[in-house]
């Protein structure tokens, strides 16, 4: 007999009811997180009072309530607490196949009639129901890149907004939003056709690689590209997520005091912004870095004395500030522990309480 939970290589494999318990907890945490457009939320459902985003849509599609047991297990990354890349890809593939599968299946009335006589038709009926509901969710890709023209600035220069959604190395969903200007150039990285902007693969490739590091490095790497002037880089990361249905979750930098109860649920959402200070008259408080994240420090704090000198030169040249913030969603039992964590770190963080 299969165990309901199995772990291997930083992964936990959930089966049966455990899958639905996990999906339910994760969805509840994400809904309570009040994620803004700086996070990889995709579009929310505007007509349901609770909303519902791309992330919750994907998670629901991984639960057996939606797929009706068509998939026997769910792999979850222990570092992020989110399903593995394979699971996201599985849902994405199913979304792409929806139309074709539904077109090939007989009508549900016929399937219902035949299901009583032959189990194969029963499975086809479940497939029909799953793909129909999946189609209704209208899920966009979980990874994607978009560029939008913000404004033309004269003399061929223009300002753009780049948005990149991806899963990072440990499986955390993140969104990077970069605002950049490009001067007129013979070989521009971004081209405009009318008001439609297109970025070269080279630019997307570099952004895709560097956003897994942090916003400051992404800012500096982007700034190093010819003809670009970076105004800001914001990275919103959803997770890690820790819930009682994951017995062996081990989120990075996560205090052991959290998540010890079987029904516990904690989600952290970080936002990190690097912003060029474009108003020289601002006073010191307005340009200094601010770290309101109790779980991470500023990159510069880890530098050696020699590296720091070089770093300070870059800061002077580009005149930017770093703002880090993090909020939490937790079950009532974990709120006190989280508050204590913030107090200890000297930060003021929001802790939303997830309904029981």
């Amino acid at each position: 007999m299969k165990s309901a939970v199995a772990t291997h290589r930083g992964m936990q494999v959930l089966h049966g009811e455990r899958v639905d318990a996990y999906v339910e907890q994760a969805v509840a945490l994400l809904q309570a997180a009040k994620l803004s457009a700086q996070y990889p939320i995709g579009s929310v459902s505007r007509t349901s009072p609770q909303g519902g985003s791309t992330l919750t849509g994907y998670l629901r599609a991984m639960g057996s309530r939606l797929h009706r047991g068509l998939y026997p297990q769910l792999e979850v990354e222990l570092l992020s607490g989110f399903p593995s890349f394979k699971e996201w890809t599985r849902v994405r593939t199913d979304v792409d196949l929806c139309g074709r599968v539904l077109a090939d299946l007989p009508a549900p009335e016929i399937l219902r009639e035949r299901a009583a006589l032959d189990a194969a038709y029963g499975k086809q009926l479940l497939k029909f129901l799953y793909y129909s509901e999946l189609l209704q969710l209208g899920l966009p890709p979980f990874e994607g890149m978009a560029i939008r023209l913000q404004r033309r600035m004269g003399d061929g220069a223009a300002r753009f907004q780049l948005v990149l959604d991806k899963l990072d190395a440990v499986g955390l969903p993140l969104r990077c939003t970069a605002e950049i200007s490009q001067q007129r150039s013979a070989d521009p990285l971004i081209t405009l056709r009318g008001d439609r902007a297109e970025a070269k693969r080279e630019l997307w490739g570099m952004l895709y690689r560097v956003v897994s590091l942090d916003a400051e490095l992404s800012f500096l790497q982007l700034q190093s590209l010819p003809g670009l002037h970076v105004h800001s880089v914001t990275i919103g990361t959803v997770g890690p997520l820790c819930c009682g249905s994951l017995q062996d979750a081990q989120p990075l930098d996560w205090p052991v005091s959290l998540c010890w109860q079987p029904h516990a649920a904690v989600l952290a959402c970080a936002i990190e912004t690097v912003q060029r200070s474009e108003q020289p008259e601002l006073d010191q408080e307005d340009v200094s870095d601010r770290n309101n994240d109790p779980l991470s420090s500023l990159w510069k704090d880890a530098l050696s004395a020699a590296a720091r000198r070089e770093y300070e030169q870059a800061r002077t040249r580009y005149r930017y500030r770093i703002i880090k913030d993090r909020k939490f969603v937790a079950d009532r039992a974990n709120v006190a522990a989280l508050k204590a964590l913030c107090t200890q770190a000297g930060t003021q963080n929001l802790v939303y309480v997830v309904p029981p």
Binding site: Q38, V44, R46, R151, N349
Partner: protein, 552 residues
């Protein structure tokens, strides 16, 4: 020194006037909720909660507050001091990714003359309260508790009945201005937003391009169609549609409202968007409309079901829309005999002046059909009238041919067909023949142009000259002809209704005094066109003829 002080005071007064104008920039003071929702969306919030509450204080008066809470980027001290509390300092102007433009939206919260406005906001670990007083002065207070996004409270003293009246106004303003926003907007927990769509449309077409998203559909008769303009789901303007029964919603980040928010800026982008709409209207929409109309007519759907589609087609025809090549053979109307008619057939009949509508199948209708005309049932009058105005541009404010215009193309307004008179009464037949002969003789004698005189049936059911004693037919007494306008000329055959009651006393008179009977008949026929000279000529001719008859 005093002069300088006066100048300063004058400038201050002008600033105060300008601020007052901005505070009251919208016709509806409740429009401030749209401005706050717009700011929340621009701040990246994908959920916005609006709610109201009332707390009793002393006596009947209590404290009402309208809350608008978002979970967007929020503001730090720098933004509060340089953007929120400074007019026209928005950096959103010209930014295609934002809706707000001018940096004057927030100030509209003062339009309802609040006692206080409290803005709690946080960003990057710093949280602030900005407390605006009634005179719009403010204090900035650092908060100890973290705040996500921006939470605004507009506070005003009022009685409970006043508060009860306020609730539907807030809800109404949200629903009107923000119904299509692409975020989860709630009022007291209930969703306000709805899909960018025309859910009640009978048929619809969509077009999405880099420029705009358009949805267009035919609406049921009881729904007033609108032409709406939206930017990121926020309503800019909604006005009555210029195409009957066709509702249209246009969403584009290129659309902007004017500073007063009561119209859309009609710039180059607006023109491009309207061209896109026209292409959709004349192409895919017209095709879908014609296909639907064809299906309905072929299944014999009742007029009430067909009417909205046909009225819309009529409007499109007037705008100069031609059937797409693959739709030319589709039925767009039916003839009164129940045959399907396509647009080119209608067009050809209208060009020949032989397209009309009728209430019933009558001998006149049969006559026109025999003469290669096209007769549609009366309920299809708008399309019939429109075919005569094809490509002439809007008919009027509503693109609909008005009732007079529709009536003008009723068959009885266009054609006449006297029917041969038959009787088995030999005396009557003899008398009629005698009266015809006498009348013809008198006309010839008085040098009137009439070629001949004939007796016919004019008063049959559906006749265009029912009730008339006579009609002048230009080419033959019993062939279909355009309805003559007036009786000035008797150029043709004078056809007299043999069964007309005015004729009856003249028949026995004709036995004894044919000239007098003929003269009286002509006087009756030419009533209204009779001049003293004409009367004198007819009378003289009658008297001379009589004298000759008596003396011969």
């Amino acid at each position: 020194m005093a002069e300088k002080q006066k100048k300063t005071e004058r400038a201050a007064d002008q600033d105060e006037d300008a601020l007052e104008a901005l505070v009251n920039q919208f016709a509806d003071p409740m429009s401030f909720v749209r401005e706050l929702v717009q700011n929340s969306i621009d701040a990246g919030s994908v959920e916005i909660d609006v709610s109201c509450e009332w707390k009793p204080t002393a006596g009947e008066v209590g404290t009402a507050s309208i809350h608008v809470d978002d979970f967007g980027l929020g503001m730090d001290r720098n933004i509060i001091e340089t953007k929120l509390t400074r007019l026209f300092s928005s950096d959103k102007e010209g930014d295609l990714t934002k809706i707000g433009k001018f940096g004057i939206g927030f100030v509209s919260v003062f339009a309802i003359a609040p006692d206080a406005v409290c803005v709690d906001t946080g960003r990057g670990g710093e949280s602030w309260r900005v407390l605006f007083r009634r005179d719009r002065s403010f204090s900035l207070i650092r908060l100890a508790e973290p705040i996500e996004g921006t939470k605004i409270q507009v506070i005003k003293q009022m009685t409970e009945p006043e508060y009860r009246a306020l609730l539907p106004r807030v809800r109404g303003a949200l629903h009107f201005h923000c119904k299509h926003v692409d975020v989860a907007l709630r009022f007291s927990g209930e969703p306000i937003t709805e899909a960018f769509d025309l859910p009640e449309a009978l048929i619809k077409e969509r077009d999405k391009s880099d420029l705009s998203e358009i949805v267009m559909g035919i609406l049921p008769s009881q729904t007033k169609p609108i032409l709406g303009f939206y930017n990121r789901g926020l309503t800019l303007v909604e006005r009555p549609s210029d195409v009957p029964h066709v509702g249209c919603k246009i969403q584009s980040s290129y659309l902007e409202h004017t500073l007063s928010r009561d119209s859309v800026v009609q710039d180059e982008n607006y023109a491009r968007i309207m061209s896109q709409r026209e292409r959709l209207l004349r192409g895919p929409f017209l095709r879908t409309l014609m296909q639907k109309l064809d299906a309905l007519l072929k299944e014999g759907a009742p007029p009430d079901r067909v009417r909205p589609y046909q009225a819309s087609l009529a409007a499109l025809v007037i705008r100069g829309c031609a059937a797409p090549a693959d739709c030319e053979n589709l039925a767009v109307a039916t003839s009164i005999t129940g045959l399907c008619v396509c647009l080119p057939e209608l067009s050809s009949a209208a060009e020949r002046g032989k397209l009309v509508h009728a209430r019933a199948q009558t001998p006149l209708v049969d006559g026109l059909i025999k003469a290669d005309g096209c007769v549609c049932p009366a309920w299809q009058a708008p399309l019939v009238a429109a075919m005569y105005r094809a490509g002439s541009g809007p008919w009027g404010a509503s693109d609909t041919p008005d009732e007079d215009a529709q009536n003008a193309y009723a068959i009885e307004q266009q054609f006449v067909l006297p029917l041969p008179f038959h009787t088995s009464d030999r005396t009557l037949k003899k008398r009629i023949t005698a009266l015809c002969a006498a009348t013809q003789k008198l006309l010839r004698k008085s040098r009137e142009k009439a070629e001949s005189v004939a007796m016919a049936q004019l008063g049959y059911e559906g006749s265009s000259v029912r009730g008339a004693l006579s009609v002048v037919m230009p080419s033959g007494a019993f062939s279909l002809a355009p309805l003559p306008r007036g009786h000035d000329s008797l150029d043709g055959t004078l056809v007299i209704d043999a069964e007309h009651k005015q004729l009856q006393p003249l028949l026995p008179l004709c036995d004894r005094e044919p000239e007098l009977a003929a003269y009286t008949l002509l006087k009756l026929c030419l009533f209204g066109q009779m001049t003293a000279e004409r009367d004198s000529a007819l009378l003289t001719a009658a008297m001379e003829t009589r004298w000759r008859r008596m003396t011969s």
